[in-house]
């Protein structure tokens, strides 16, 4: 890495390009922002009304929306961190997009903290602790209110602090082009990758798997990571193409960047299916009632349709669509696949989070739909604000030139 930076400096491909004026600030349509605000407010209203009518329903939807948003933010941070750690240059030109996505983490963290602190009753072990008095001492300790809350706060704070620090360093580098910021971010990224691996595993066990505390699967965290990353990549692709169409990344984004993003989406979609099947097959083969209950609940009646649809949206469609090279290089084709994957991501979370509460078939209420729409709108508003607050590509990054001339 050090060698590479040094040799790039020596050969003159590196250094602050004199194109600071190219990196204009992004200012989207005011009408678009009004619509997003309105949808965000509607989502908030749906939550308040829902909490009054059927509290479990609304709080569970809040957990789902917040987890959806935080997983976009975490996937974006992980995406940036992996590039720093591996010394990758290809995506530097479009890095402001994942950076802006990662700014959703603190906001989504508020939603998750609210659920854990205000309404832990959505978790059966909290609502009816007497049911678990026979459980192993460690399980009772692990799923006890104070420990659970403390862990949640620890995960959330560590993610917020590191992701903010990485973005801050990247932005500070814009003015000076100082390579010290790259070195700082490499260290922070290595820390994030290691810390994220542990904290996200535990967080998915805590926040989602403990909705069904008598069921467990050791691969559940890997499954959740796969969903997080494939959904996050789809979000990065969508917003990158939008920023190209709306102007800020025009002339910066090229087909090679899209091709690589498309390859990653293809790979992680297949990884998601692989891990999905790994979990399913072991449970199907062993056929223990306490394990199969998870799937029985999710294939019963109309749930079965959603269960199959989940595989189509997250794997069959992206796999077949992204096989040819042409789809990965064509922005309008690639973005459509990314929309399908985001829909699949939402459905996947719905199957994980809503199914334990259902008596009978899935009841997708107005409250849920409006809240999901509202949270996606808030996500876009947060993204737009963060993206506007910085140059639309990292003008001071030593690898910018390499990324812009990538494969050319």
């Amino acid at each position: 890495m050090e060698d590479r930076i040094a040799s790039s400096v020596a050969s003159g491909i590196i250094g602050v390009e004199s194109n600071g004026n190219l990196a204009g600030r992004f200012s989207p349509d005011r009408d678009l922002r009004r619509v997003l605000y309105a949808l965000g407010v509607a989502g908030g209203a749906a939550f308040v009304i829902g909490a009054a009518i059927s509290a479990l329903h609304a709080w569970r939807a809040l957990l789902m929306s917040s987890f959806l948003l935080i997983s976009f933010g975490l996937a974006a941070t992980l995406f940036i961190a992996i590039q720093y750690v591996t010394g990758a240059a290809w995506c530097v030109a479009i890095r402001r997009v994942p950076e802006a996505i990662s700014s959703v983490i603190p906001w989504a963290a508020l939603g998750i903290a609210a659920v854990i602190i205000v309404k832990p009753d959505i978790y059966p072990w909290s609502a009816q602790p007497e049911m678990f008095s026979e459980a192993a001492w460690f399980k009772r300790l692990w799923l006890s209110q104070p420990f659970f809350t403390a862990r949640t706060i620890l995960y959330l704070l560590s993610w917020i602090i590191i992701s903010r620090a990485i973005v801050r360093n990247s932005r500070l580098q814009d003015d000076t082009g100082d390579i010290a910021y790259t070195r700082k971010n490499i260290r922070l990224s290595a820390l994030f990758v290691a810390l994220f691996a542990v904290t996200f595993c535990l967080a998915s066990f805590d926040w989602i798997m403990s909705l069904e505390p008598e069921w467990y699967s050791t691969i559940f965290a890997v499954y959740n990571f796969a969903g997080l990353f494939v959904g996050g990549l789809a979000a990065i692709i969508i917003l990158t193409v939008w920023m190209d169409r709306l102007g800020p990344l025009r002339g910066i984004l090229n087909r090679e960047h899209l091709h690589d993003l498309g390859k990653l989406l293809f790979a992680f979609s297949t990884f998601w299916m692989y891990i999905w099947f790994s979990q399913y097959m072991l449970i199907w083969y062993t056929n223990f009632p306490e394990e199969t209950v998870y799937y029985l609940r999710r294939i019963e009646g109309a749930w079965g349709t959603l269960f199959v649809l989940n595989m189509f949206l997250n794997w069959v469609v992206p796999f077949l669509a992204l096989l040819p090279k042409a789809t990965k290089r064509n922005p309008s084709a690639l973005i459509k696949v990314a929309y399908v994957v985001v829909a699949g991501r939402i459905l996947d979370l719905y199957l994980m989070i809503a199914a334990p509460f259902a008596n009978g078939g899935p009841k997708i209420g107005i409250i849920e739909l409006v809240m999901i729409l509202g949270s996606l709108s808030l996500f876009l508003l947060i993204f737009i604000k963060a993206f506007r607050n910085a140059n639309s590509f990292p003008t001071g990054d030593p690898f910018l030139a390499e990324s812009r001339h990538y494969h050319r």
């Binding site: 099947f277 399913y280 097959m281 199907w284 083969y285 056929n287 096989l323 040819p324 090279k325 494969h407 050319r408």
Partner: protein, 175 residues
């Protein structure tokens, strides 16, 4: 019949790319380019049409998967049924891992074999080396002498501009 070639030898990745690009743009017939490793963008510089190997990979992968599913059905369901945990004979989920592996095996191996044959590198084939350095640190660009229309001086000029370390004329005799 004799076929004449003009050969340029280069020592840097950027040089082979610029020489190849300039030759293509000038309309020279590029016979082949040799490099010690895969150079990004060289396929575009030569003007190669997209590879058809992905089709071999896809179709043979599909064939491998189909054959394996059929074979597993036949062995566990028809020829020698074994009761495993009370599961039905034709339990599809149990077939998935091996089907996946066989699909990857067929797709991977067949692509390599197809590539070798397309490149005329079947067993026993003699691969002529334009220069010993192409397996080590040198890049070689070969232009076809298409007869009177071939502007050799212009070609030599292009080679020199891209820092060619050696330029040679060679004749290949085809029987």
């Amino acid at each position: 019949m004799n076929q004449r070639y003009l050969i340029g030898i280069f020592e840097r990745e950027e040089d082979i790319l610029s020489a190849t690009n300039a030759s293509r743009l000038h309309g020279f017939v590029i016979s082949d380019v040799y490099a010690p490793y895969a150079v990004h963008g060289l396929d575009k510089a030569i003007g190669l049409s997209p590879s058809r190997l992905p089709w071999v990979c896809f179709l043979l992968g599909l064939l491998g998967a189909a054959l394996k599913v059929w074979f597993e059905f036949w062995t566990t369901g028809i020829d020698w049924p074994v009761n495993v945990g009370g599961k039905p004979w034709n339990s599809l989920p149990a077939f998935v891992p091996v089907t996946f592996e066989v699909m990857v095996f067929f797709a991977g191996v067949s692509t390599v074999i197809a590539f070798l044959f397309v490149s005329r590198l079947w067993p026993g084939a003699r691969a002529p080396l334009a220069d010993r350095g192409v397996t080590d640190n040198r890049f070689v660009l070969i232009l076809e002498d298409t007869g009177p229309a071939f502007d050799q001086d212009r070609a030599r000029e292009i080679f020199k501009k891209s820092n060619a370390v050696d330029i040679e004329e060679r004749v290949e005799t085809t029987r």
